[in-house]
């Protein structure tokens, strides 16, 4: 079976699984709970699902670029925490508890810059010092779980921020960040599959020796993708905060596993930005079902409904585990000089 065939099969499986999951959910709902599905899938539900999917999509696109180039950035969750916290902190610094819309945008930019800087350090550890990618990625998560609430406690005297402000809706009741994300998805796809640089990224993960022979510095490509992945995860965290309007630093923080779900989203989307966005939308919708259940009067504990995305991840990974990972993920590249 050649690559195109396996990709087609993979796409068919992806579509099949998605439809399967939705069908089972639909059948369960209309069968057991006697619920009219048209009341469940409302315009508000779509809006909320898109909003929930954006942070996951952004982080997933970053993660898939890094992994395509041969580096597994398992620290997405941690960088999302830094992104969310930095946004909240910047908003508070600029406008106290009532920042303006301008402050929100500035805060998002600051969060992207800060995550870029932090990831640069992380990239040096991974690439120059050949740190274990899995362990170092976990460490980023731990550092985020510790330092973000620590600084929050310094600033606000509590691990969570007071209410700040969320971003204003644009057209169709949608956040401008949702539209921005759609643009990012398109650009990420074109860049990866239709430009020379995109081919470099893929070659760095599939056949770094060939890329080296062609005169392209493999490690420079990897630095670029890893830093990009952290910046995108930070952006994702910033978007999460801009939609929520305040920072929550208790427990596993407001990011609450979305960075991990982002990894699954790009695996599920077979390293394709569009596929990753679709998978993120599926997880976002599951996350928001909770609100829908309440409005149509299904009495299930919100806590249980909130577990649905995690369960979906398990089902997806087990049914769809054999993703076509790039050939040399996890291996440091030594230039032959």
């Amino acid at each position: 079976m050649n690559v195109t065939d396996s990709l087609t099969v993979a796409r068919l499986r992806l579509v099949g699984i998605t439809i399967g999951v939705l069908a089972v959910l639909g059948a369960v709902l209309s069968g057991i709970f006697d619920v009219d599905l048209s009341r469940l899938i409302t315009r508000g539900f779509v809006t909320r699902s898109l909003e929930m999917a954006t942070p996951i999509t952004l982080a997933a696109i970053g993660g898939l670029y890094a992994e395509k180039s041969g580096v597994f950035n398992i620290g997405l969750e941690g960088f999302m925490i830094f992104g969310a916290f930095t946004t909240a902190g910047t908003m508070f610094a600029l406008g106290g508890t009532s920042p303006t819309q301008g402050d929100v945008w500035v805060a998002i930019l600051v969060a992207i810059v800060v995550s870029t800087l932090l990831t640069a350090v992380f990239a040096v550890l991974l690439i120059r010092y050949k740190a274990d990618q899995i362990v170092a990625g976990l460490a980023v998560w731990f550092v985020g779980l510790g330092f973000a609430p620590f600084v929050a406690a310094l600033v606000w005297g509590s691990r969570s921020s007071p209410g700040l402000t969320s971003i204003d809706k644009l057209a169709f009741g949608q956040s401008p960040l949702v539209f921005l994300t759609i643009v990012v998805v398109g650009v990420a796809w074109v860049f990866l599959f239709r430009t020379r640089y995109g081919y470099w990224v893929q070659a760095a993960g599939e056949n770094p020796e060939a890329l080296d022979t062609a005169g392209v510095d493999v490690n420079r490509v990897r630095y670029a993708t890893v830093i990009f992945s952290g910046a995108m995860a930070g952006f994702g965290g910033a978007v999460l905060l801009a939609h929520a309007g305040n920072f929550v630093g208790t427990g596993s923080t407001m990011v609450d596993g979305r960075g991990w779900i982002a990894i699954v989203a790009y695996l599920f989307g077979n390293y394709n930005p569009v596929g990753a966005a679709a998978a993120a939308l599926l997880f976002g919708a599951l996350d928001m079902l909770n609100v829908q259940f309440q409005t149509v009067g299904i009495e299930i504990s919100a806590r249980l409904v909130n577990l649905l995305p995690y369960v979906a991840v398990l089902v997806v990974l087990t049914a769809y585990g054999k993703t076509r990972i790039p050939a040399v993920v996890g291996e440091p590249y030594e230039t032959e000089e």
């Binding site: 731990f142 510790g146 310094l154 991990w260 909130n306 577990l307 995690y310 991840v313």
Partner: protein, 378 residues
């Protein structure tokens, strides 16, 4: 690309990582662990200084909080038992090349089923010491079995569904916390308690105290910890099962040629790891808590255990000093929380930094080479 090719690629990565890990001598690993911890604590002190606190005072509070009084030492030993046991659970899996990040979840479901089974059985067992021992043994068995099963699940998913265990175990952690949290608040909640918790364990479910007068520290807990460490050390280094486990982690191609069934090995490893995590959960409820609360508030023993195990280079014996360090830090954070203005989350951040530095031994090798101080990190 066919599946077998994918598998050999994945195997290549692991073998390469293993080869690099084996390069490090025992002394070098100790050097790296000490250097990582020192550097992380130093950065923590710099952060404390930069945010306007007195770093010397913070450092001394860490020491006093961990070892400054009999109470502090008892508190340190109590946390140490949990960190060592969960650390051993992580080490079992990591040694076999399986990244069980799910020890926290296995610890939670294990502890919860211990509480539920003891409360359920208490009606059929006479009160008094003998009844208490029966309840504790059966409750512990329930915890071990549940933890083992919850660990086996991602093992099966990895073996037969090729699902990455890092992600599945993290998802299972979220599910364990959410589901047990729901059970504790609803079906298994104590209707008479104002707080969200299960009913208390009967009075006869109690371990004898240790030499210290701490009601939440028992000599039985400490002996159990030492026993498990010894047992796991013997199993991993002296038995066929342990040998197969470690070879399949370090040299999986070699293990396959010598007839080890890789799929079964993954499942047994995860089950074994989960059983130790479940045992820790049982000890936690019997020795310390006496009931079950919302697991989002019981502490991240299973997560910090990853740091403990890594610091110990996944060696069951090395887990003892590493666990003591984390027990000391945890004990110090409860002291810092009361006696200092420094937010305790700083200590969590320091733990994260320890892990980050442990992941990058090359960093210390280069520093050692640059400065000519080859001594402890050569």
């Amino acid at each position: 690309m066919s599946d077998s090719e994918a598998a050999s690629n994945g195997g290549g990565v692991l073998d390469a990582v293993a080869a690099r890990l084996l390069d490090a001598s025992v002394l070098e690993r100790i050097g790296i662990a000490v250097a990582s911890t020192t550097l992380a604590i130093l950065i923590g002190l710099v952060v404390a200084a930069a945010t306007g606190y007195d770093p010397v005072q913070f450092a001394s509070q860490l020491l006093v909080g961990a070892f400054g009084s009999e109470r502090a030492i008892a508190r340190t030993l109590r946390s140490t038992t949990l960190f060592v046991l969960t650390g051993v659970a992580v080490a079992i899996a990591f040694r076999a090349g399986v990244f069980n990040i799910g020890v926290q979840g296995q610890f939670v479901v294990g502890g919860f089923s211990t509480v539920v089974s003891i409360i359920w059985l208490a009606a059929f067992v006479p009160s008094g010491t003998v009844g208490g021992i029966v309840l504790m043994l059966s409750g512990t068995a329930a915890g071990v079995v549940t933890g083992g099963l919850y660990g086996a699940l991602p093992g099966v998913m990895k073996a037969y569904g090729d699902a990455n265990e890092i992600i599945t175990t993290i998802m299972l952690n979220f599910i364990a916390t959410g589901f047990v949290g729901w059970l504790v608040a609803g079906p298994f909640g104590d209707p008479e308690a104002t707080a969200t918790r299960t009913r208390r364990l009967p009075d006869n479910v109690e371990l004898p105290q240790a030499v210290f007068g701490d009601p939440n520290l028992s000599i039985v807990g400490i002996l159990l910890m030492l026993g498990v460490v010894a047992l796991v050390a013997v199993i991993t280094s002296r038995t066929r099962f342990g040998y197969d486990m470690v070879t399949s982690g370090y040299q999986d191609t070699a293990a396959t040629y010598s007839g080890v069934d890789a799929k079964r090995m993954v499942i047994s490893t995860m089950t074994f790891s989960g059983m130790v995590a479940g045992l820790t959960g049982a000890l936690f409820v019997i020795m310390i808590q006496g009931y079950y609360t919302d697991p989002s508030g019981i502490g991240n023993y299973g997560f910090d255990a990853i740091a403990v195990s890594l610091l110990a280079a996944n060696n069951p014996l090395g887990v003892l000093p590493a666990g003591l360090l984390f027990g000391g830090l945890e004990s110090a954070s409860s002291h810092v929380q009361i006696n200092s203005d420094v937010p305790v989350q700083l200590i969590d951040g320091i733990v994260g930094l320890v892990v980050l530095f442990v992941a990058a031994p090359e960093l210390f090798r280069m520093i050692a080479a640059r400065t000519g101080l080859g001594g402890d990190a050569e």
